[in-house]
Point group: C2
Chain length 186, copies 2
């Protein structure tokens, strides 16, 4: 029940946890979840729920739920510790892997339900002869965008990290290499 943290703790680490927790809101996760993720991301050894709770001053139950959410995002995973019954957790420390899991999670939470919604609307729209064709077109173009994005996400998530990294670092050179037509910013 002590509030004292690991003696080797650094203020940079502390600061990072605070900032990251704060940023969570922008990214759509609550402070507890983001702080716990930050703590595990910077932790060299696996931590159990009790340790996290004490370290961050977050209620044990809250830690339990937050860990579940992070496992759901696959940003952390359980690791068994020999001779210890308690569940320990480590974060994915490969940042590219991390980014891809966040992208995967976002696709599932944002793109997929949007696609389902628009498909249903379009079903309705098709049997509505009075509907302005312009409106139908707009719905369809949105569906096309979502489908294209969905498929693209799925494919990019299958590309090896190293390739993806390299491709992103090449930036718009990739585009020019493809020798496609079209002029800038139009």
């Amino acid at each position: 029940m002590t509030e004292i943290n690991d003696i080797t703790d650094s203020s940079a680490k502390r600061q990072f946890i605070l900032y990251w927790g704060d940023m969570g809101s922008q990214w759509g996760v609550n402070r507890s979840v983001a702080q716990i993720h930050a703590l595990l991301f910077l932790s060299v050894k696996p931590l159990n729920a009790e340790q996290i709770s004490e370290d961050l001053g977050i209620a044990r139950s809250n830690v339990s739920n937050s860990l579940k959410e992070l496992v759901g995002w696959k940003l952390i995973r359980r690791v068994p510790i020999a001779g210890d019954r308690r569940e320990h957790f480590v974060a994915e420390v490969d940042v590219w892997e991390m980014a891809m899991r966040i992208a995967q999670g976002r696709k599932e939470r944002e793109i997929d339900p949007a696609l389902a919604a628009i498909s249903e609307c379009l079903e309705q729209a098709e049997v509505e002869p009075a509907l302005n064709p312009e409106i139908l077109d707009r719905m369809k173009s949105l569906q096309d965008l979502l489908q294209t994005t969905d498929k693209w996400y799925g494919q990019m998530l299958g590309v090896p990290k190293a390739k993806l990294n390299m491709m992103m670092k090449m930036g718009d050179k990739v585009v020019s290499l493809l020798k496609l037509t079209g002029k800038k910013s139009e």
Copy 2:
């Protein structure tokens, strides 16, 4: 103050507005904002705040603030109507343009502040000799990821829509065309 909508209104359109509003929460905008965006996206002619308020049954003040937010995202813009003092609004109807503006907004709200935060932490970390080098490395790798992503976003946002569209539709063929090394899923 009537609650009756345009006589030519369709149920598919109504449904779309409801679904889109509901999905807003997943995308980080509130229902009012998302519904107004949906209404304008499917509207063939510009609408003023009063019309939107009546049509959606949302308080006038709320409409005003939501419109401001949508203008901030550049998803809608003001259009002057001859002989009418009131401000009218239209949505960006090119869905690729729309997607790029959302991407731009997200970069500004998610990536940029994260970069600022981590840079500050790293400044602190550099003057902390006791800091475990492994932790320093993790922070730096995260910074590198954010910087790469930031730069990549910036470059992609400058690519003409048609090219981007084509590239995404090519999907992972783009990756293979680049003849980079590395094997699948690693």
